[in-house]
């Protein structure tokens, strides 16, 4: 009964929080409206989510978000330095192919987004069977090091969260 009423508890929670943040003032009326939205939208859209991602350790995601935000700040400073102080011909860009152990589409999406937001790398493409991701590095002399860092720093953490 509860599973049919709330097919997707995390989505419901996210909708309630986002609605409350959107109206920006906390009143009882807003809370009731937020809960109504959080109940109705997942019910209407449940058909479009045949396989829901299962989070085995949701609390780990807080640690992940903190690490990524810290890396984003560092990435900004690093990229700004390259743009301002490197001569154009000294910027050595490389393509790096990173094999993936993650299998769920949601986890790969999060990983690709993380790679784009963090130090000097943009994720550009997956291989056709989603077993490998193509990353562009703005400036690196050590493509293998970049690959190992992505795998160690982000992928292993995402494996813990999603699988």
């Amino acid at each position: 009964m509860l599973a049919r009423l709330i097919p997707h508890p995390l989505l419901s929670l996210a909708l309630v929080l986002v609605w409350l943040a959107l109206v920006n003032t906390f009143t009882l009326g807003n809370l009731i409206l937020a809960i109504a939205i959080g109940l109705i939208i997942p019910m209407l859209t449940a058909a479009y989510w045949p396989d829901r991602p299962k989070l085995s350790k949701p609390l780990k995601s807080i640690e992940y978000v903190a690490i990524v935000i810290w890396d984003i700040v560092l990435a900004n400073i690093e990229v700004a330095k390259i743009i301002l102080f490197r001569k154009e011909r000294d910027i050595r860009s490389r393509w790096v192919s990173v094999p993936l152990e993650l299998t769920s589409p949601e986890a790969i999406t999060v990983l690709a987004g993380t790679i784009t937001m963090t130090p000097g790398t943009v994720s550009t493409m997956l291989s056709a069977d989603a077993g490998c991701i193509l990353v562009h590095c703005l400036n690196t002399d050590d493509p293998d090091g970049v690959r190992d860092e992505i795998k160690a720093r982000y992928e292993t953490r995402l494996m813990e969260i999603f699988e």
Binding site: V18, L20, A21, L22, N24, I72, V73, A75, N76, I77, V79, A80, I83, L84, E88, I91, S93, W95, V96, S97, P99, L100, A112, G113, T116, M117, G120, V122, S123, T124, M125, L126, S127, A128, D129, G131, C132, L134, H136, L138
Partner: protein, 124 residues
């Protein structure tokens, strides 16, 4: 408002302005489209982030009211920026890059814009 509060807010505004400028300067300086992608996806994040933090500080110190809209803006930015970058990169690669210039994919299939996915039972 106190002097220190004003100093803090202007500091965040200046930082965000500097990073916004660096991001735009990167667009001019870097030489190809994929390199140029790095400038707006990174430098602008901190640029926008600085303005948002300054805005939250201002509303908190001025009115004592915690404003949450800024967190939402940051959230939506983090969700959309990588997707835009990915679209631009793929379009550039289709138009300008030969497959031979890329490193080989280490899985069974090649890169998705050059190679077909393995056929599954549902497709056939």
């Amino acid at each position: 408002m106190e002097f220190i509060a004003e100093l803090l807010i202007s500091l965040f505004l200046v930082v965000s302005g500097v990073f916004g400028f660096v991001g735009s300067y990167g667009l001019v300086k870097l030489k190809d489209s994929v390199q140029r992608l790095h400038a707006p996806t990174k430098a602008t994040t901190l640029g926008v982030g600085g303005v948002l933090i300054a805005s939250m500080l201002f509303f908190f110190l001025d009115t004592g009211h915690i404003s949450i809209h800024e967190i939402l803006i940051a959230l939506f930015l983090f969700l959309t920026a990588p997707i835009t970058a990915n679209f631009i990169a793929k379009t550039y690669m289709v138009a300008n890059l030969k497959q031979e210039k890329l490193p080989k994919s280490s899985s069974e299939c090649g890169w998705s814009i050059y190679d077909k996915p393995p056929s599954s039972d549902e497709d056939s």
